[in-house]
């Protein structure tokens, strides 16, 4: 039987796509890299996921899991061909309000989970800027974070258990209700594994109470350094605000053009801060942040007084990436993390690199945890620009690593950042990771050539997976 007929038999014709145009539409995520899907499938249950895994293994064709395709590192782009497995039909949702947990299908949209939990006074804390679109499966696979990660941690802090389909087609449940399940924390390995170790079909997540009071502040600064200094001082003062987000002038200008949120576009940098909790502490923290800002040179401190105003300020921040489209058709983005105390010097270095390569660079980032997001806006059709962009990107990463930083705060490695892994890890580190991958996925079925650079395995002869000869499955 051919791969196509096997898939059709298992899932029904309507759940397998094969038209070239349909495959093209599934050939990339929100990154710049396009792959080529062999087929696209829509499993309706964990059992069907398992069946597809077995079929793929028997035909020796890789599987690339895909949630909403909002990933920024080509994680869901089928760059080695293969079956794109879309999780949107895995959309079960059971909220256990007494235990403040929920079993959530991998295809459930992040914000839909919080909306469903709201009547119980609960929410799912990880809030990537893409939360209105991205899926829980994608969040787990990329260990995604968001503006509120500063106080509440990234996805991994909120995952108690996982239902995962392994490479042999077995469905296993890892972790569970107990806060610290006995034995090895295998679930912890799957979180952040970017679809390279198994397919997540459901997640047991922790839900947190909606905070009684929220204050959102917008501070504007004549220089980026003053804004960064404010961030450092706020944390040094012992506060952990729910969020501390920074946007530079080019970014606010792009956002403002679209949103008309009243952002001060003449400021070199704006800082969005949010404090949550009981009324008293919220008020005192908000005024403390205002004072620290002013002492560090803030020209103006705005406090959102209505829920609409707050929502508008956040919308500006959360739409920043997309607003880049106004400046140039393409963008290239890093999300390295640096120690907060090194933020000022790192920012200077980043601007200097961009100037040297004559590139337009914007900054919008989670300043509180030092997770920088320097974005380069460019037009890929300009001759020679791709090379400049990548060189500048590499230098930016080196600059971040030099001050003791890490390669990625939340977006994952995928393919786009894969070859930078060598800058961040030693051969021995990479070998250990490659061995781990082999334990879960000995034949390289899941998302091949992602995350780990070729040759990570010390005894690697030209890639873990044998290339599938063309036409073998049709």
């Amino acid at each position: 039987m051919t791969l196509l007929s096997d898939l059709r038999q298992a899932l029904g014709n309507e759940n397998v796509l094969e038209e070239p145009l349909e495959l093209y539409i599934y050939s990339k995520d929100a990154s710049l890299m396009r792959g080529e899907a062999t087929f696209v499938v829509f499993p309706q249950s964990a059992e069907q996921v398992a069946t597809v895994v077995q079929i793929a293994a028997s035909h020796n064709v890789p599987i690339v899991a895909r949630g909403a395709g909002t990933g920024l590192t080509a994680g869901a782009s089928p760059t080695e061909g293969g079956i794109v497995m879309v999780t949107t039909a895995l959309n079960s949702l059971e909220i256990d309000s007494d235990n403040r947990t929920a079993w959530v299908g991998a295809g459930v949209i992040n914000l839909d989970l919080s909306t469903a939990a709201a009547p119980f006074g609960l929410h799912f804390a990880p809030d990537p800027s893409s939360q209105s679109a991205c899926t829980i499966g994608g969040n787990v696979a990329n260990n995604s974070g968001g503006a509120h990660t500063l106080a509440e941690g990234s996805t991994t802090s909120h995952v108690l258990g996982l239902e995962v389909v392994l490479a042999d087609g077995e469905i296993v449940v890892l972790g569970g209700q107990a806060p610290d399940s006995p034995g090895l924390d295998v679930k912890g390995l799957i979180v952040g594994s970017e679809g390279t170790l198994g397919i997540v079909t459901r997640a047991l997540v922790r839900l947190l109470p909606i905070e009684p009071e929220v204050r959102t502040l917008l501070l504007d600064f004549p220089t980026v350094e003053e804004a960064v200094a404010t961030v450092t001082e706020i944390i040094a003062a012992g506060m952990i605000p729910a969020a501390l987000e920074l946007m530079d002038q080019r970014m606010t200008t792009a956002v403002e053009k679209w949103l008309h949120a009243g952002l001060p576009i003449d400021a070199a940098a704006v800082l969005l801060a949010e404090v949550v909790g009981e009324r008293e502490s919220v008020e005192s923290e908000a005024s403390q942040i205002g004072e620290i800002g002013r002492a560090n040179g803030a020209r103006d401190v705005q406090v959102a007084t209505t829920e609409e105003h707050r929502a508008l300020l956040w919308k500006g921040r959360k739409s920043a990436f997309g607003a880049m489209a106004q400046l140039a058709p393409d963008y290239y983005l890093h999300d390295a993390v640096v120690p907060r105390t090194k933020l000022v010097e790192t920012m200077r270095a980043i601007y200097e690199i961009a100037d040297r390569y004559e590139l337009t660079l914007l900054n919008v980032f989670h300043a509180g945890d030092g997770n920088v997001h320097p974005l380069i806006a460019f037009d890929a059709s300009e001759p020679g620009i791709n090379e400049r962009v990548h060189k500048a990107g590499d230098e930016i990463v080196s600059a971040c690593l030099r001050v003791g930083g890490a390669l990625s705060g939340e977006h994952g490695i995928g393919l786009e950042k894969r070859d930078l892994m060598r800058m961040a890890f030693t051969e021995i580190d990479l070998d250990a990771q490659a061995r781990l991958k082999e334990v879960f996925d000995p034949t390289g079925l899941f998302n091949p050539k992602k995350v780990l650079p070729d040759g990570s395995r010390c005894f690697d002869f030209g890639g873990v997976r044998r290339e599938v000869p063309e036409g073998a499955w049709v």
Binding site: L21, Y24, I25, A30, D112, A133, G322, Q326, P329
Partner: protein
């Protein structure tokens, strides 16, 4: 061969999309199916694939584009300001020009009825007769939903075309009668004329006008859409304000710049009737009543809310009529009417129609305001007979009349 018409989606338009995916969750067809091929980003990718010649423009492309409602919910959330609605019209024009059999299919489906006034009038006459004899079940199957949802008409149909009246100290309004409104929703046009004149406008419905061309544009009959736009630009170019009473029409007028060289002249001064009436209430040219009249469920037509960003105005009008507005749908999903969609994609249309009806039922309110004839018909055909559905300006006018009569009796 890629594109063949002047209306094609352009490369600049396509480049505006950065594939961020933020438009996915607001797209009704993506929500129904969970498929990228039924999402705005997927449709734009499909257009890109045609634009760069990667795949031919064939039935697969046509199917992907046909399944789109044209609700434009994807536009206001798009940070790249991708002009999706415009590009969709371009893609449809290309399909009609390039995919064999498309042209004929569309012609048959609408029996050329909608844009032609005389056929509309005959249709409306027959419909009111059939309704009063309870014969609507005899209508061709393909029209069942539309007819089932049509208003109960009384007496002879007539037209507002040629109407002239009002003082004009607040400026002269050119009224687009609209083809569907003019026949099946006459009370809306009549209410519009009355209110605009009360508000100090001179109102003229010039005879030189024709259908706005929205349906033709949405269906890919671009030549017709260009011709209609040119005729209307001629008919309306000298008015201070141009008003349409259907959200689909006012949205299309606002985009006339794409359809005629002089289109901006009319596009710039065009507003939906809800905007014109809300302005008059705000300026005190029309009264805000304070007798409470209970609750009113509101439905936002896509072409008002998503395409024109008009949300406050219908609410202000209902509040000025004394109603407490009850929201039914925070994200304002399409009701599934979407022009010919109910006929072309009956399954998806029914799912959306039922979903919308359920949202309204769950409020427990049986008075409903909807500012577009297509939506109103769809709601009628999915809600029970005890639901009263009318345009916000009709509710407002009825309240004014009631207040006046009440005033007279109490004297």
């Amino acid at each position: 061969m890629t594109w063949v018409t002047v209306d094609r989606p352009t490369s600049e338009e396509l480049d505006a999309c950065v594939q961020c995916g933020l438009c996915l969750p607001v797209c009704p067809t993506f929500r129904l199916t969970g498929r990228e091929t039924a999402s705005p980003r997927g449709r734009l990718q499909a257009m890109s694939a045609i634009d760069s010649g990667i795949v031919p423009l064939d039935e697969t492309f046509a199917g992907i584009i046909d399944f789109c409602l044209g609700c434009r919910a994807c536009e206001p959330v798009c940070p790249g300001l991708v002009p999706y609605g415009r590009m969709l019209e371009g893609a449809r024009a290309e399909i009609v020009s390039q995919v064999p059999g498309r042209k004929r299919l569309r012609k048959w489906l609408q029996g050329s009825a909608i844009p032609s006034r005389s056929v509309m009038r005959a249709g409306a006459g027959l419909l009111s007769l059939a309704q009063s004899l309870r014969l609507t079940g005899l209508a061709p199957k393909k029209y069942e939903r539309i007819i089932g949802g049509a208003r109960r008409l009384r007496g002879r149909p007539g037209s507002s075309i040629g109407h002239v009246g009002g003082s004009g100290e607040a400026g002269t309004v050119g009224l687009l009668s609209g083809c569907i409104q003019d026949q099946w929703f006459r009370p809306v046009n009549q209410a519009a004329i009355k209110l605009l004149e009360m508000a100090g406008h001179r109102v003229e419905a010039p005879s030189a006008q024709t259908c706005c061309g929205a349906l033709a544009a949405h269906d890919g009959r671009a030549a017709e859409a260009h011709r209609m736009a040119a005729t209307n630009v001629g008919a309306f170019r000298d008015y201070d304000i141009v008003v349409a009473t259907g959200a689909g029409c006012s949205a299309h007028l606002a985009g006339y710049g794409h359809w005629d060289d002089d289109g901006e002249i009319v596009g710039e001064v065009s507003v939906d009737i809800t905007v014109a009436v809300a302005r008059a209430i705000e300026d005190g040219r029309l009264p805000a009543l304070d007798t409470p009249r209970g609750e009113m469920a509101i439905q936002d037509p896509c072409h008002l809310r998503h395409a024109q960003g008009v949300t406050l105005e219908p609410r202000r009008i209902l509040e000025a009529a004394g109603y407490k507005v009850v929201e039914t749908d925070e994200v304002a999903f399409c009701c599934g009417a979407a022009g010919l969609y109910s006929t072309l994609q009956p399954e998806a249309s029914a799912q959306l129609g039922n979903q919308k009806a359920d949202q309204i039922r769950s409020t427990g309110v049986t008075r409903v305001a909807s500012a577009n004839p297509g939506c109103e018909m769809q709601l009628r055909s999915y809600l029970e007979d005890n639901y009263e559905i009318a345009h916000p300006i009709e509710w407002y006018l009825a309240a004014l009349v009631e207040e006046l009569e009440g005033g007279i009796t109490s004297e």
